[in-house]
Amino acid sequence: MTPARNAAMVALVCAAVVGQAVVFRFLAIDGVVPDLALIVVVAGAIARGPEFGALLGFGAGLLADLAPPADHVAGRWALALVLVGYLAGRVRQDARSSPLMAVVVVGAASFIATSVFALSGGLVGDGSLPVGPMLRVIVISMLWDLLLAPLVVPALLRFFDDVRPARRFARSR
């Protein structure tokens, strides 16, 4: 993997994390914004498999955990995104079969990731809500991600196919 490809991927993850905190804050529905980092991780996993998905999830999650204005216990988003990165990678054959399936996978991943994040918060006693409002947040964020996925996932899949290491690309086709 060349430095340029790595840099492109790091830039994409940074843009996603900054985008959800800065660009989408005025479009937020009661503070809930689309989870761009999650969409990037799921698209990466669908394009490149579970191992890559888990690694990308770890990187993106850690950035979301540490970049301002995050104030929660670090590692929680990383854990949630590692899991969905891996899971999305496992169902990549189905997800690649049609654009609709990819969107469904994003929706499922959104539900799982936000739930895992919420549960981890409950376990370490860090900023959790009562069940009702929490479910509401989880559902709104899933709807946001479902809304955005058809618009950005095809482009992201193309991006991850393009930055795929050339040798492996040639062999696997």
Binding site: F26, G31, L66, V73, G75, L79, L83, F117, G127, S128
Partner: protein, 302 residues
């Protein structure tokens, strides 16, 4: 590497992915444990401030670049109750709509700044004005925002943040050019409050939600006191004004809920500040602070 990944045995790629997953999950759990156990002296704090000092300016630049779009969409989306009126408004006057999109935003900002200046002269505190550049997603279940003033402007940890409506929160993390503010509606935020009518004190805890339903719970120290509706709650402040200075309005009593289980009364407080539309805020700094920003003081001067 490519050969190993493609593998001759069908299961080998899966095994490798599973191993990676196991290692990464372990790494995450270690991080969570380290950070949760250590509290304020977390070993991750250096990493946090390093990333903050890189991502802060990036967020600032992004906020500046996308501000014109924000102002338009913010006007439409920030206030839920306004949304219903939009259809009638747009039909009514397209010229008004065009005007609304550009010029009044600046006027509104000016009014907010004027409000801050007034707050400074009313309360006698020195204030550094800053703007909100990023908001933590509700999915993180913590209500925080990033402002574009940091240690270079004299902003430090545990300083009070307010706007011209009332109390906003306190600074929990400051890098050179940005600072993270914990909003008072966050579930981990506790503010000492005082009812302005009978001077009774209590503690306000956030409920973790913003928007129209964003409320605070006021737990009064004296359980025999019954707050009346629309009573104003102000901060009672703490020693040296850390983290909250005294006398900043927080909100009004919306309703009173009594809980028989722990024989206490909780007053539900509607905050003055609109946390979905935060823009210009002020950070209360010690007198005589010098930085790269103008400090608004009681005299109205520098």
């Amino acid at each position: 590497m490519a050969r190993r990944r493609l593998g001759t045995r069908p299961g080998s790629g899966d095994d490798r992915a599973r191993r990676t997953l196991g290692l990464l999950v372990l790494a995450c759990l270690t991080l969570i444990t380290l950070d949760a156990r250590a509290g304020s002296s977390s070993p991750l704090n250096p990493a946090r401030s390093a990333i903050g000092s890189v991502m802060g300016p990036v967020e600032d630049a992004t906020a500046t670049a996308t501000r014109p779009f924000h102002d338009l969409s913010g006007f439409v989306h920030s206030n839920k109750s306004l949304r219903g009126n939009i259809a009638t408004l747009t039909a009514e006057n397209s010229r008004l709509r065009g005007e609304v999109a550009t010029e009044p935003i600046d006027r509104q900002r000016l009014a907010e700044l004027e409000g801050l200046t007034k707050t400074a002269s009313d309360t006698g505190y020195s204030i550094v004005a800053a703007r909100v550049i990023a908001m933590g997603p509700e999915q993180s279940f913590s209500r925080t925002v990033t402002i574009d003033a940091g240690t270079s402007s004299g902003v430090r940890k545990d300083m009070t943040v307010l706007n011209n409506d009332g109390l906003v929160g306190r600074v929990v993390e400051a890098t050179r050019s940005t600072a993270t503010v914990l909003l008072i509606v966050d579930t981990s935020s506790v503010v000492g409050g005082r009812l302005s009518t009978n001077l009774e004190i209590g503690f306000l805890r956030g409920r973790g939600t913003v928007g129209d339903s964003g409320r605070l719970d006021l737990d009064l120290v004296d359980n025999s006191v019954i707050p009346s509706k629309n009573d104003v709650v102000v901060t009672w402040g703490s020693k040296d004004g850390v983290p909250y200075v005294a006398g900043i309005p927080i909100g009004t009593v919306d309703s009173v809920v009594s809980s028989p289980r722990n024989s206490s009364r909780i007053a539900v407080i509607k905050p003055y500040a609109d946390f979905t539309a935060l823009d210009v805020v002020g950070v209360v700094v010690p007198k005589g602070t010098h930085g790269d920003r103008k400090v608004i003081t009681a005299g109205g001067g520098q």
